[in-house]
């Protein structure tokens, strides 16, 4: 196998200096090539379509936002895989990004494993390795196991709602919502919202 054949780069689009540096450091330590961009505009400047690469994109950027960049790239028909990196409060936006084609999303702060998993998913795409697609039949079987209430909670999760919002809407405690969430994850065999969106979103 050609050594260069599985070589790829990661654009880290992140306006917080420390976050950008540390993420690049971690990825570099694992042997990945990183290209740091402090804004969406800078990414557009540096982007080289000839390069095999994917992008770790922070959604909150000054100037053009992450979401706007994604829309822009979609419009230009630039098919670069995007892993969305987001703060906790921006989950609805992340869900929106997933819908618009992002391959995964990571909530800050994320541990090493989570980050590596996302890298694996995104880079797989570069080599036509689609992320394991769960068949519709299996998804339907798993959905079948959910209670009505759990299905309701799932619906809200897919809209990117916070536990607190779901709790208030269903008139239950946040703890109850957390319980539903973990049962949903188990029954659907999903690690997080990203998986859920891939399956049913």
């Amino acid at each position: 196998m050609d050594k260069d054949a599985d070589k790829f780069s990661i654009y880290v689009v992140e306006d917080d200096d420390a976050v950008s540096k540390s993420l690049c450091a971690l990825l570099t330590a694992h042997g990945f090539e990183t290209i740091a961009c402090t804004s969406a505009e800078q990414f557009l400047d540096h982007y080289d379509p000839a390069k095999k690469a994917f992008m770790m994109l922070d959604l909150r950027l000054q100037g053009m936002s992450g979401l706007q960049l994604q829309t822009h790239l979609n419009a230009l028909n630039v098919k670069i895989p995007i892993v969305v990196v987001t703060g906790h409060g921006d989950v609805p936006v992340a869900v929106q990004a997933m819908r618009a084609g992002a391959v995964d999303f990571i909530e800050k702060p994320a541990n090493e494993d989570r980050i590596l998993k996302a890298v694996e998913t995104a880079s797989g795409l570069l080599f036509n390795k689609r992320p394991a697609i769960v068949s519709k039949k299996i998804v339907a079987d798993r959905l079948e196991k959910l209670t009505d209430r759990e299905r309701e909670v799932l619906h809200h999760l897919l809209l990117g709602k916070l536990n607190k919002e779901i709790a208030s809407e269903l008139d239950v405690s946040q703890r109850t919502v957390e319980g539903h969430r973990s049962r949903i994850r188990n029954k659907m065999q999903a690690r997080g919202i990203a998986d859920l969106i891939r399956m049913v979103g």
Binding site: D16, A18, V19, K21, S22, L23, A25, L26, T28, A29, H30, G31, R60, Q62, G63, G87, H88, G89, K108, P109, A110, N111, E112, I115, L162, N163, K164, E165, S168, E169, Q174
Partner: protein, 763 residues
């Protein structure tokens, strides 16, 4: 029956019955000039009663007839007629020309420059029991014992009949419209007139006047010949002559032909009447009928008169008492309602509670109350509501009454049945609140004393005869569709009630207005507090959100660095000591824990859902600006709020949007602190698909280095606060799917935001 044939009873209204120029046959009349005492008039029958023929005494001095002594007494008599009067007989004796003695009973009275003497045959001795003091007391005490109007009328009719021995004695009561009702009857006949009503035309106005002035009237023989009165010139002293004699106060006055016919029609042979006068008004009549002629001795007559006047006096008392009692009852109800209203109960509820009492008191069957836009019906009211507009025109001092509502407003049959008569009380000056009482027609309320029979009969001579039954029928025809009239006593009660209810209604209106105002004020304050509370909560939420975001960055960096560090060591083939490996792992876990903690705090404080409704941005803008100005310390600040009342409503949370306006306005005000011109302008305008609001100031503007971060938290361009105001504005507007931005202007800055309009649901 055509109009031409109709028996016209009002014809006698024109007849000057006091100038009839004749007396009845049972006495003689002599009139002297009040000054000269010369005899000016005599009736042609003097010879029988005083022993002189008219020719012998006409033009002679009175002393020529009755002697010097008697004549001198006349000088000292008080002769002016008084009302009510009692017959004051003068038992007189004088000599005939042939020397024999004449004993006569004489009734003298003065009128119109004459003294009139009426001579009757003296009663044969011994004096009947009526002259006995004790008997009189015994009879009168029977009258005095009676308690109410009906008792009194019954007793009066019975006692008078005992005294005069007539076939029938009836007590009439006149209503305000002058029609009469038989309220008591004593009779030895089989038929009864009790409860019957007679049209006002049965007693023409001139007769009515005479009834008031001349209380006692006796006609012993309806069909006896009239005896003319002649003057010194030999002419009959009637209305057609040059000098008619006024017989207003005469007891002997001859009967008008119309009245003779009327009585004959009823088959009456002798008649007597005593007027019942209360408060100088003709209240009623004691009408006595005998079915053949009957001369009553003057002592019986006098006693009957005494009974009549006693009845009048007692009636007056009863009337006054009834009026007083009705008035007191009305006052009591009014007082009770007033007390209850003042202690907080609703006027409407109280009127409803007291309705049956009030309706009984004023003798009505239905009631409509319109108060504060609500309608209350009690008792018998029409199915279709009545339009009282024209009835309002009849109001006098807040009250209108009628016994024939259909002649005032348009009504259908059902309405006419329930509301023949009505009383209207206005309860407010604007005509919005009023109370109407409804009286049913007589047809429903009257106790008919038998079916009205034929109005007229034709006798063998072809003469039309009017029967009393006919009279009754006439009356009922005339009254059809009318109610019993509202009399003065009831109107007084209505006035009392109306005065109280009107005052209480305006009190209640003021109270309601005050309550509404207080409520509006409280609502205003509540909104203001809500906005301020939301401002606090929003700031806290935004702060939490901002902290979460800002803290997450270094936490991410730490976790990444530590993990990278461990990996680099591995890459360098450094064997990480087991304890160091654990410590590295702990550091990573701790950053995750810190991240989790931040998430929990943020979750805890974060805003709830938006409470959206369709709102008018103009209002929300005004509220936000008002609130911003409360803490404003710029005395020269000019504020322009450019409203546009044509904009669509938007689906938004008024409190949250108010918060945005408040923050933008506050920022602008702060930015103008040191400006020469201090002008804050807030405009709203509709554009395709959204409503746009702009807030512009004449302040220092936004420095280029700040502009980039202006909506980020903790980047403050003002010295106060945490710098999350605009960040919060952005969160709120974005949560509404709107857009917020700013543009520099020639002087200061303009902030814009847009909220989308949902086309299909525009309220």
């Amino acid at each position: 029956m055509s109009d031409a044939d109709q028996v016209d009873l009002t014809a006698c209204d024109q007849e000057p019955i006091h100038l009839i120029g004749a007396v009845q046959l049972h006495g003689a009349l002599i009139a002297i000039d009040a000054k000269t005492h010369n005899i000016d008039y005599v009736s042609e029958n003097t010879e029988h009663f005083v022993g002189f023929t008219p020719e012998m005494i006409l033009g002679k001095p009175l002393s020529y007839l009755i002697g010097e002594e008697n004549s001198a007494r006349v000088q000292k008599m008080s002769l002016q007629p008084s009302t009510p009067e009692l017959l004051k007989p003068w038992f007189i004796s004088f000599e005939r020309p042939d020397g024999t003695t004449i004993n006569a009973e004489c009734l003298p009275h003065g009128n119109d420059g004459h003294v009139i003497f009426e001579f009757f045959e003296p009663e044969p001795t011994p004096a009947p029991m009526w002259e006995d003091e004790l008997s009189r007391q015994a009879v009168i005490s029977e009258l005095l014992k009676t308690g109410d109007l009906n008792d009194l009328a019954d007793a009066s009719a019975r006692l008078i009949r005992d005294v005069i021995g007539f076939d029938r004695v009836m007590i009439y009561k006149f209503a305000e419209d002058k029609h009469g009702e038989v309220i008591a009857e004593s009779t030895n006949r089989d038929d009864s007139f009790l409860g019957m009503h007679y049209p006002a035309s049965d007693i023409p106005d001139p007769a009515r006047r005479h009834f008031t002035l001349n209380v006692m009237r006796s006609i012993p023989d309806i069909n006896s010949a009239r005896v003319p009165i002649v003057s010194r010139s030999g002419q009959i002293a009637d209305a057609d002559s040059a000098a008619p004699l006024d017989l207003t106060f005469s007891k002997l006055r001859a009967v008008a032909p119309m009245h003779v016919q009327y009585l004959n029609n009823m088959g009456v042979g002798a008649s007597m009447s005593i007027s019942l006068v209360t408060n100088n008004e003709l209240w009623g009549l004691v009408a006595c009928h005998h079915y053949s002629k009957r001369i009553i001795s003057s002592s019986r007559l006098r006693f009957a008169e005494l009974l009549g006047s006693t009845t009048s006096t007692l009636l007056q008392n009863l009337e006054n008492t009834a009026q007083l009692r009705t008035g007191i009852q009305a006052e009591k109800i009014a007082f009770y309602i007033e007390q209850q209203v003042r202690s907080g109960r609703a006027l409407r509820d109280l009127i409803e509670e007291q309705a049956s009492k009030i309706m009984t008191l004023i003798d009505v069957q239905g009631m409509c109350l319109v108060l504060g836009g609500e309608v209350l019906h009690v008792g018998k009211v029409p199915k279709e509501p009545l339009d009282f507009t024209f009835f309002f025109d009849e109001l006098k001092e807040g009250i209108a009454t009628t016994d024939h509502l259909p002649s005032i407003i348009t009504m259908d049959e059902n309405q006419k049945e329930c509301a023949a008569g009505a009383a209207l009380l206005d309860l407010s000056d604007d005509g919005e609140d009023y109370l109407v009482f409804l009286r049913q027609s007589y047809d429903q309320t009257i106790n008919w004393a038998g079916k009205p029979e034929k109005i007229e009969t034709i006798d063998e001579n072809g003469i039309k005869r009017l029967s009393p039954r006919g009279s009754f029928a006439l009356w009922s025809q005339e009254r059809r569709g009318r109610s019993k009239p509202f009399d003065e006593i009831i109107r007084d009660a209505l006035r009392i009630l109306r005065r109280a209810l009107f005052a209480l209604n305006s009190l209640e209106r003021k109270r309601i207005a005050l309550r509404a105002q207080k409520q509006a004020e409280a609502e205003e304050i509540r909104l203001r507090h809500a906005l301020l509370d939301a401002a606090r909560a929003n700031s806290l939420g935004e702060l939490a959100s901002a902290i979460a975001h800002e803290l997450n960055q270094p936490l991410s960096a730490i976790a990444n660095y530590v993990s990278a560090c461990r990996q680099e060591l591995r890459n360098a083939n450094v064997t990480i000591p087991e304890r160091a490996g654990v410590l590295i792992e702990d550091a990573v876990v701790e950053t995750e824990r810190a991240g989790d903690l931040v998430r929990r705090i943020r979750d805890f404080i974060t805003r709830g859902d938006l409470n959206t409704e369709y709102i008018d941005l103009n209002k929300v803008i005004q509220q936000g600006v008002d609130l911003a100005l409360v803490t404003c310390q710029l005395p020269n600040l000019k504020v322009n709020v450019r409203q546009d009342l044509t904009i669509s409503k938007v689906l938004a949370d008024p409190v949250q949007i108010g918060q945005v306006i408040l923050n933008l306005a506050r920022n602008s005000i702060t930015a103008m602190k040191h400006s020469d011109d201090q002008i804050l302008t807030i405009s709203v305008a509709q554009q395709t698909g959204f409503v746009q609001v702009s807030v512009s100031d004449s302040g220092s503007g936004i420095p280029a280095n700040v502009a980039k971060y202006i909506f980020e938290p903790f980047h403050t361009s003002t010295t106060k606060g945490m710098g999350i105001g605009l960040s919060l504005c952005r969160s709120i507007i974005e949560a509404h799917s709107g857009k917020i931005w700013f543009e520099p202007s020639q002087s200061g800055a303009i902030f814009f935001f847009q909220l989308p309009i949902l086309e299909n649901e525009n309220g």
